[in-house]
C-alpha cells in the first residue's frame, strides 16, 4: 500500500481521467483506506471546480478603448505598405 506521501506525489495522476487503469487502481486503494487523503482529494477537486466556474470579468472600459486605439494605429501603420 502506498504511503500518504507517495499518494500525494501522484495526486495529479489520480485526478487525471487519462491515467492508466493500473495506477488508478493502486491510488484508489489508498484513498479508500485513508481518510486524510480522501479529504485532500475531495477538497482539491472542489478547489479546481471553483476556479473553473469563474468566468473572466470584462476588462475595464478605458483599458478596452486603449487596446482598440492601439490596434487601429497598428492597422493604419500597416496599410500603406500593403497598397
Amino acid at each position: 500500500m502506498l504511503t500518504c506521501k507517495q499518494f500525494l506525489q501522484e495526486l495529479n495522476d489520480y485526478l487525471d481521467p487519462n491515467t492508466d487503469a493500473a495506477l488508478k487502481t493502486r491510488l484508489e486503494a489508498h484513498v479508500s483506506e485513508c481518510p486524510n487523503c480522501f479529504v485532500i482529494v475531495d477538497t482539491t477537486k472542489k478547489t479546481l471546480q471553483v476556479y473553473k466556474g469563474v468566468e473572466p470579468q470584462a476588462i475595464p472600459e478605458d483599458v478596452k478603448n486603449r487596446l482598440l486605439k492601439a490596434l487601429e494605429r497598428k492597422i493604419a501603420a500597416r496599410e500603406p505598405a500593403q497598397t
Partner: protein, 215 residues
C-alpha cells in the same frame, strides 16, 4: 419589392457562432475586422492571465496590448499548427514574464527559484468544506477570495496553475510556453494545486468539523 445584393463582407460572428479557424484565415488575408473579433473573444482571458502573472494593473494592460499587437504583426507567421488561442496565450505569457523579470530586477523578489522536487507536501488543513461555498459569498467576494489565493502563490507556481487549470493548456503546451520541462510543469502544478487547496480550505472548511486534522 426591391431585390438587394447580398452583403459583400461577412459579418463578424457572434460568440455563439464563433469560428476561430475561419476568423484566423480572414485575418491573415488582411481582414482587420476578423482580427478584432478574435481579440474581442479572448481579451478577457488574456487580461486575467496577465493580471495574475504580473499582479499589476498597468503591466497587465501593457501585456494585453503588446500580445495582441504582436499577434497582429506576426499573423502571417502563425502556422495554424496550434489553436490561435494557444498561440496568443504563449505570446501573452512571454510578455508577462518579461514584465515580471523587469519588475523583479527593479525590486527584490527572487526570480528563478529552483523547483523543489523533493516534494515536502504540507497539508495542515485537512477538513471537509461547507456545502456550496459559492452560494455563501457574492460573486465579487468569491472572485476576491480566489484571486488572493492565486496571488499568494510563488510566481512559478501560479503561472503553471493559470495555464494548466484556468486556460486549460496541455502539460506539453505549458512546458513549451514557459520554456521548462514537462516534469517541471507537473511538479509545479501539483504544488500549486495543493497550496490553493490549503488556502481555500482555511476559508471554506465546515466550522467545527476539523475531524481528520489530528488523525
Amino acid at each position: 419589392m426591391v431585390e438587394r445584393d447580398p452583403p459583400v463582407t461577412t459579418p463578424v460572428p457572434t460568440p455563439a457562432a464563433f469560428d476561430e479557424t475561419a476568423l484566423v484565415a480572414r485575418a491573415r488575408a488582411g481582414d482587420a475586422q476578423a482580427f478584432t473579433a478574435l481579440m474581442t473573444q479572448y481579451e478577457r482571458k488574456i487580461y486575467r492571465l496577465a493580471k495574475h502573472i504580473t499582479q499589476n494593473d498597468e503591466d497587465a494592460e501593457d501585456v494585453l496590448q503588446e500580445a495582441f499587437l504582436k499577434a497582429y504583426e506576426h499573423l502571417a507567421g502563425f502556422q495554424g499548427n496550434s489553436k490561435f488561442y494557444t498561440w496568443i496565450v504563449r505570446i501573452a505569457v512571454n510578455e508577462a514574464l518579461m514584465k515580471l523579470r523587469k519588475r523583479r530586477s527593479d525590486h527584490t523578489v527572487p526570480l528563478d527559484e529552483p523547483v523543489d522536487t523533493g516534494e515536502e507536501m504540507v497539508n495542515r488543513e485537512i477538513a471537509v468544506w461547507e456545502d456550496n461555498p459559492e452560494q455563501r459569498y457574492s460573486r465579487e467576494e468569491m472572485q476576491g477570495i480566489l484571486d488572493r489565493a492565486v496571488e499568494s502563490l510563488k510566481p512559478d507556481f501560479r503561472t503553471v496553475f493559470m495555464l494548466r487549470d484556468i486556460e486549460e493548456l496541455s502539460t506539453e503546451e505549458t512546458a513549451e510556453a514557459l520554456g521548462i520541462s514537462v516534469p517541471a510543469v507537473k511538479s509545479r502544478l501539483l504544488r500549486a494545486r495543493l497550496a490553493l487547496r490549503e488556502k481555500l480550505t482555511r476559508q471554506f472548511k465546515r466550522k467545527g468539523e476539523d475531524v481528520f486534522a489530528n488523525l
